[in-house]
Amino acid sequence: MTEVFGVPVAVILGQLMLGLVNGSFYAILSLGLAVIFGLMGIVNFAHGAFYALGAFAALLGLQWFGINYWAALLLAPLAVGALGIVVERLFLRHLYKLDPLYGLLMTFGLALVIEGTLHQLFGASGHSYPVPAGLTGAFDLGFMILPIYRAWVIAVSVVVCFSTWFVIECTRLGATLRAATENAPLLQAFGVNVPLLVVATYGGGVALAALAGVLSAPVVLVGPLMGNSLVIVVFAVVVIGGMGSILGAIVSGLVLGVVEGFTKVIYPEASNVVVFVIMALVLIARPAGLFGRE
């Protein structure tokens, strides 16, 4: 078998694939964070909790109302997004005039409350969500067995990330959103309802987190802490990409998923820190992040 640096090519291709799957989750999650930060200046620490809520919404929808995976893919983000809107109206809107630190603390507290509530209601050990009927089984790629569901995750992620980027960078709605971040009072003077834009943005960002949650439900056990370790990594991804940069979040999400995948082969013990090492290096070399504006 052909080898590169003593590692068989098949293994490299396999890890590349898995890295892309994990990177897809990072990309969707960091995308939501980047949108929220870019347009609102809120560091949304509750992102991991909304991710878990998305997965729970899918799980409970299935158990209580028989809502299948395909419907959950749409309904769970809508439901959790609506909750996000409530959160924005009740809590976050009071904090815009203050230092971003207050938003961070607010959302961090919110994450603890959500995770604690889920823990109280459903326990810590997690619940199984079945892989949807049409996506069971696996592709034999020759160098590895790729479960069809994981390939589906990559596909959904690419579509979602690209369309979000397209909406924000290439449409009139996106232009208005970006204008709101540059100069909200002026935009309001033109008759645009800025508070509505902001609330829609937060709802949208939160819905993205919930979508990632639904996508991950068949892959891992659905439990209250499922977003807990993930959200820290995703923050590092956003910082590396450049806070608020949409393209940066997507690209660095995918790339870091792959980097992490290779670390798992070369030196597995370091796989949970490699992203942070890169973050530190990026902050030293380019404090605004790889795609951020200086």
Partner: protein, 401 residues
């Protein structure tokens, strides 16, 4: 103004709740402490269920001992050794703690056992697996009650290697417990003519296991040794199924609790071999206890939760027998008396602190075999205590070989 009143009201309520939780032990009480993971990945293994088990034991004992009221202190160590150790020290110094029951996490338990030695307070490890607690890290006040890595390996690894699984690759949780479990298992495997082909150390609470699993598959080993626990165990087994790895390799659950099997479902978990110190559906006594426990919690007890009940009773019986809570006298009594209750028959605490009792090698039933809720295990073998926990190693200075 209204908002301010509300804030002050809330703050007052919070503060009063906090103080209520921390200080409800009067000076004269016999105080049982429980420090465990109440909110993290191991919270369902012992957690609040274990607190319920302690309460049941105290109620069954009559609520008092030596004419003194029995009270409980509970704290969450959040899987952080420093939090566990400092809480233990605080209770020992300020709350008149008489015995500590310690829940999941070997790392935290090792840190707390040092405090037990310094403060001379009986320390009963119930959730941690690491056998070092009664070897290198043993103290005169330590008891290891439910299971340890040696017993798990002797049960599960022996069974698998004797039924043909000769070559092993391990997925190991990267902390004290995982490495001890892997070492114990590979010793057993090699003693039975098997071989270790490799291992990968996985950071605790990893979000994805597929990458590690492909490495395991690449090794060509027959057995996938899962030297991890809690959600890590469940998620790694789930991914192994998804990637078709369980078709080529036989998974070995070196530590699995019934709550893990419950969350995975029998479809995924069927056929697994595992070793447990207690099973709710073992006999009439365990069923009677579990029925009462289920009525309070809505779940069947894990081996840790069964162990918490038994350990609380064992401690209280010892206090009653010697007529004092003096740590040295109670420890001597604990090591002198046989333990006979719904958890253990003829169990005894050895000089090194191991509670030697029968362990059970189980196989997880298929969905067709399971006849009623929580009917998950079939009993393959009862391992006698001496066989399960092995001879005294001599690593603990209190118990020379």
């Amino acid at each position: 103004m209204q908002l301010r009143t509300l804030t002050i009201g809330l703050a007052t309520a919070l503060v009063s709740m906090l103080s209520a939780a921390a200080v409800f032990a009067a000076a004269d009480d016999v105080v049982i402490g429980d420090i465990d993971d109440l909110s993290g990945t191991y919270a369902d293994v012992a957690g609040t269920g274990a607190v319920e088990a302690i309460k049941m034991a105290i109620a069954d004992f009559g609520g008092t001992v030596l004419g003194r009221k029995i009270s409980i202190l509970v704290a969450d160590h959040q899987n952080k050794p420093d939090i566990g150790a400092s809480k233990f020290r605080e209770w020992a110094d300020q709350n008149g703690l008489n015995v500590l029951l310690a829940g999941s996490n070997t790392g935290v338990s090792i840190a707390m056992s040092k405090v037990a030695a310094a403060k001379k307070i009986p320390f009963i490890a119930l959730g941690a697996g690491g056998a070092s607690l009664t070897n290198e890290d043993c103290t005169a006040y330590s008891v290891h009650y439910v299971y340890d890595t040696t017993a798990l390996a002797n049960g599960t690894a022996t069974t698998i290697v004797q039924t043909g699984g000769k070559t092993w690759f391990y997925l190991t949780a990267d902390y004290a417990f995982g490495t001890q479990l892997q070492n114990a298992a590979s010793k057993v495997v090699e003693a039975n003519g098997g071989k270790t082909l490799g291992a990968v150390r996985v950071p605790l609470a990893a979000s994805d296991f597929s990458s590690f699993l492909l490495q395991a598959q690449g090794s060509g080993a027959q057995v996938l040794g899962l030297a991890n626990a809690g959600e890590d165990f469940s998620n790694s087994l789930k991914a192994a199924n998804e990637f078709g790895i369980t078709k080529k390799m036989k998974p070995a659950a070196l530590l699995a609790f019934i709550t893990n099997i419950h969350s995975l479902g029998l479809e995924t978990a069927q056929g697994l071999y595992l070793t447990t110190g207690f099973y709710w559906d073992l006999n009439d006594e365990t069923r009677a206890f579990s029925k009462r426990y289920f009525a309070k919690t809505g779940k069947e007890p894990t081996m840790d939760q069964g162990g918490y009940y038994s350990a609380t009773l064992t401690y209280l019986k010892a206090v009653k027998a010697v007529g004092t809570t003096d740590s040295d006298k109670v420890m001597a009594e604990l090591k002198r008396t046989k333990i006979n209750d719904m958890f253990a028959k003829g169990g005894y605490i050895r000089a090194d602190g191991v509670m030697v009792h029968d362990m059970y090698v189980m196989q997880v039933k298929s969905p067709q075999e399971s006849k009623y809720p929580w009917d998950y295990y079939k009993l393959l073998k009862v391992m006698k205590g001496e066989e399960a926990f092995g001879p005294i190693t001599g690593l603990c200075p209190l118990a020379p070989k």
